[in-house]
């Protein structure tokens, strides 16, 4: 692989990894997580 190949690869992978990590960080640190409507053990409303 030549130098430009390394640069393209590192830029491409670096971009998507950074975006992914930032999104995970934001999702996990934002306090207002959707309220838990019902647990997995419970029947969904239209199946009760």
């Amino acid at each position: 692989m030549n130098l430009s190949g390394w640069l393209v690869m590192l830029f491409s992978i670096g971009s998507v990894v950074s975006l992914f990590i930032w999104c995970i960080y934001k999702v996990l640190t934002i306090p207002k997580e959707t309220e838990h409507v019902h647990g997995f053990e419970q029947e969904p409303p239209d199946m009760q």
Binding site: M1, N2, S4, G5, W6, V8, M9, S12, I13, S15, V16, V17, L19, F20, W22, C23, I24, K26, V27, I30, K32, E33, T34, H36, V37, H38, G39, F40, Q42, E43, P44, P45, D46, M47
Partner: protein, 580 residues
Amino acid sequence: MADRIKESWNSRIGVILAVSGSAVGLGNFLRFPGQVAEYGGGAFMLAYFVAFLLIGLPICWAEWAMGREGGLKGFNSAPSILAAITQRPGLRFVGIIAVVIPVVIYMYYVVIEAWCLAYATNYLFGDMRFNQTSEATEFFNNLIGASKDGSALGFDIKHVGVFFVAVFILNFVLIWRGISRGIELFCKYAMPTLLVVALIILVRVLTLGTPDTAHPDRTIGNGLGYMWNPSKQVLEVKDANGEWQQEREIVDAKNMQDAVALVADDEGKRLRQLTAFEQLSNPNLWLAAAGQIFFSLSVGFGVIITYSSYMKKKDDIVLSGLAAASANEFCEVAVGGLISIPAAVAFFGVSGLAGIGLSTFDIGFKALPMVFSQMPAGMLFGFLFFFLLFLAAVTSSLSMLQPGIAFLEESLNINRRQSVAILGFVVAMGSAYVLYFSADLKALDTLDFWVTNLLMVVLATAQVIIFAWVIGIEKGFEMAHAGAAIRIPKIFKFTMKYITPLLLIAILGCWFYSSVLGYSFDPGKPREYSSYVSDLFIKPNTIAWMAVGLIALTGLFIGLNLLPATHFKPTPPAKKGAKQ
């Protein structure tokens, strides 16, 4: 509709995993690397990221916003959502496409899912050590019944029949359980498992080094170079008409030495450097990059609009949409881009891989089984890889069923279990057609061509126009930002209003020009109809016509069962002084 009790997602993480599960599929691990290698490596990536920003993300956010808004009005299926949020009942007919696409794709995708399970099982219990590519190809052809219609229906480990029944039942058991207990629960476990398995395989591939010391040019480094170098050295040969045709790409010093010697001896051959700019001037590269973004992000697919309709008014959709897209991009670029092609080049070299082919099925079911045959502990890694593909396929196929179920629940006013039963019958008939007419994969291929190239782009174009022009970009952004954890950058207002629709129309036009009318963007090439057009109009093929008929019939069934227009008429304002 309003009095029907609605299902909903259990948590934000759950909906993100479900949407990313829908997007992450075979395309990430097999189609993407093949496209990058075929269309210029690093040069392709530039077009890919441009398409992500100008097409993928805008449609993604538009679908999330319109879906959630429709859900708040009590609707979960695309035809009703589009009519309700615009108060234009005529737009129900655009929504038909958003149900046809996932239902029809499910009919053949579940068959491919069964192939993946069959391969994983054969790696555990069968003999998957192939000495030659022809053996791997023969195994694949026998498994899928490529030689003769009906020959895939064997119910032993070497035929797909039994695996098809297993995956079909698995999908319907999960979808029967509902949004949170079925789809969300499965994705919550399947997606992290998929990621761990993918990272294990990635580490194994990147540490392969030079697997065969007799071929020092066949290394992981050269495989990565073939995949990522933006400029290419290619060996060209002169054809009978005196035109230079590309023979192969040269990726390392040893091959370069050989090529230089070859060119010195033969005037009919030459070495040429293809610059990134030259490759980017090829319209096919841009079409391929935009197409990859479509398939990959599951935009214009009818799934996101349905999934997001189960969200609440205060739920964030901007960050959730971006997070799901970023998870998909991570799996595609950072994992998928480093596994298949580099591993195949490390074992067979560039010319060896070119001989096998770069299509999704060639890489996945012919080249990689050969890689696993020669790799230490290859049977284990073979199992892990196909199990990974199987998980990715299940999370995608589950998402394809929900739009159909939501539509039936709404239009026939029946409960989830009844709609699952009806949809199960419909897609079982369609899948049986794909499974039976397996010769040369004619049925599967024809369905895939017309649905993914035509219907998906038409739907995406319609959706973005509805969002930016019918609803209005300001109101659309207001809808998207309700409860949002982050804000969409303002530049996307201009992008979604002008650039995205224009690009989509251009893509549709270019596709029609080249794939339907048969013209080439290369001025030297004569007009040639694609086999898909030829199968319908030039040399009519019954199976191809049946495929198109199946798409039309599905659309007709949906069209005949749409909710009446009166459901979507705006309520007239109450008259002054009237009794409340």
